[in-house]
Amino acid sequence: MMGNLGVVLKRELASYFATPVAYVFIVIYLIMAAVFTFYLGGFFEREIADLEPFFRFHPWLYLFLVPAIGMRLWAEERKSGTVELLLTLPITAGEAVLGKFLAAWLFIGLALALTFPIWITVNVLGNPDNGVIVAAYVGSWLMAGGFLAISACLSAATRNQVVAFILAVVVCFVFLLSGLPMVLDAFRGWLPQVLIDAIANLSFLVHFTSISRGVLDLRDVLYFGLVIGFWLAANRIVLELKKAD
């Protein structure tokens, strides 16, 4: 028995593969991941059998590629009017929001999984700690989910996909870097230290880095879970507010 969630998810995935979106995304993702790993990361030059140079650039890769997937989720439906079709079927708004998100997240997961040759490569070349690599893959996918939930929510705020993309990149960027001085300095001096620490703790980078070192801490997993939950709840509210425009 397949619930309505599954129905929405299936239709979304069908749309990805019915258009060039899926293929373009996967190819670009794989090429970019390889470029970052081998040129910027110095995968061979380091002569260390791990995937650190591969995962190190994932936050930056996602910063642009995930909003590109997320921007169409609702903006396109609102522009074409299909949102009216979707939300007058006996499907709840929650099912629609979650179904669309899961489809996109699974799709990004597929792209991530297709980087497996580099995992094989590193195992051929040396003896990496495969536990660390598994943790990093999980962390990378969780972080992609965080970016995606932000992008999905902002996509519901506009019918223009370009606007949705730019908004999503900016917000993702802030979340990514909230642990770095360039963000924290803006708050230092007028916010108490507790809140500044809290903001620093919101950083995707901090949590991702700790997972990708091989420490799959429940707190980091919970963090991404909460980020996704928060932005999807916001997505529902934004959709409710904006669908009439």
């Binding site: 009017g81 299909t82 007058t88």
Partner: protein
Amino acid sequence: MIRAKSLTRRYGPLLAVDRLSFSVEPGTVLGFLGPNGAGKSTTMKMLTGFLEPSSGTAEIFGHDIRTQALAARRQLGYLPEGAPLYGELSVERFLAFVAEARGFRGGEVKSRVHAAVDRLSLAEVLGQTIETLSKGFKRRVGIAQAILHDPPALVLDEPTDGLDPNQKHEVRRLISEMAQDKIMIISTHILEEVDALCTRAMIIARGRLLADDTPEGLLRRSRYHNAVTLVLDDLQTAASRLSELDEATEVEIRRGRLTVFPSGRGNLFEAVTRTVRDAGWSVSQIQLESGRLDEVFRKVTGAEEAA
């Protein structure tokens, strides 16, 4: 049965639908008539559960749209304005999605899709991507998704808008065919459609219900109802002679045609034909008017002086 109770919707300061109340029985084709921006679409969006009413509510076969939204939606098929569809999917894939969302599973998805495809003659385009279809076919796909679950009520927002005359005729034929024992609510700003399709018409303007009647009832409100129009050579003589009839109130000459309006006393048509025969005029055309909807529409919506 569908019952709207003081249905109201605001967009910020704008009152789009103002305390609309009505009820519709099965077997009715109800036409929502009104100028653009009158609140027709907003009313439909509330009935189908896309928009929450600001106040008031409606019942769809006993299910309240606010408290039993999903149950209410199951009773309805809906064609939104402009018939939006997932253009990147094939007709078959799209209809299968709607069938699944309507709760059908397995073999039933297939049988439902095929029944709708047969009904709307979509077999030849079943595998085609929706965005490559002609407008007429797209509209038929839109109607197919609305009737997949054989709902007791259909809400069609401007079903013939943007179609060529042949396609319009085709869609109207489909609607008439489906109309028996269903509730059909159709919005339009094409007046001929009301006459061609509807058993009941509601004129809405600025969110308010201004008239609720059968098309014949609306025509009776026209000053042209039972008027007689003639085409003949000597318009002036005929006009002065006919205006003296007890059965006539006034006459009007417009574009070579003479129209005599009834006073309500006696049978005007008989009186006119008798006069024509007695006077021996050579009349090339004589016509009993049933009334003009466009005139009623302007009168009711208060735009008469602009015409």
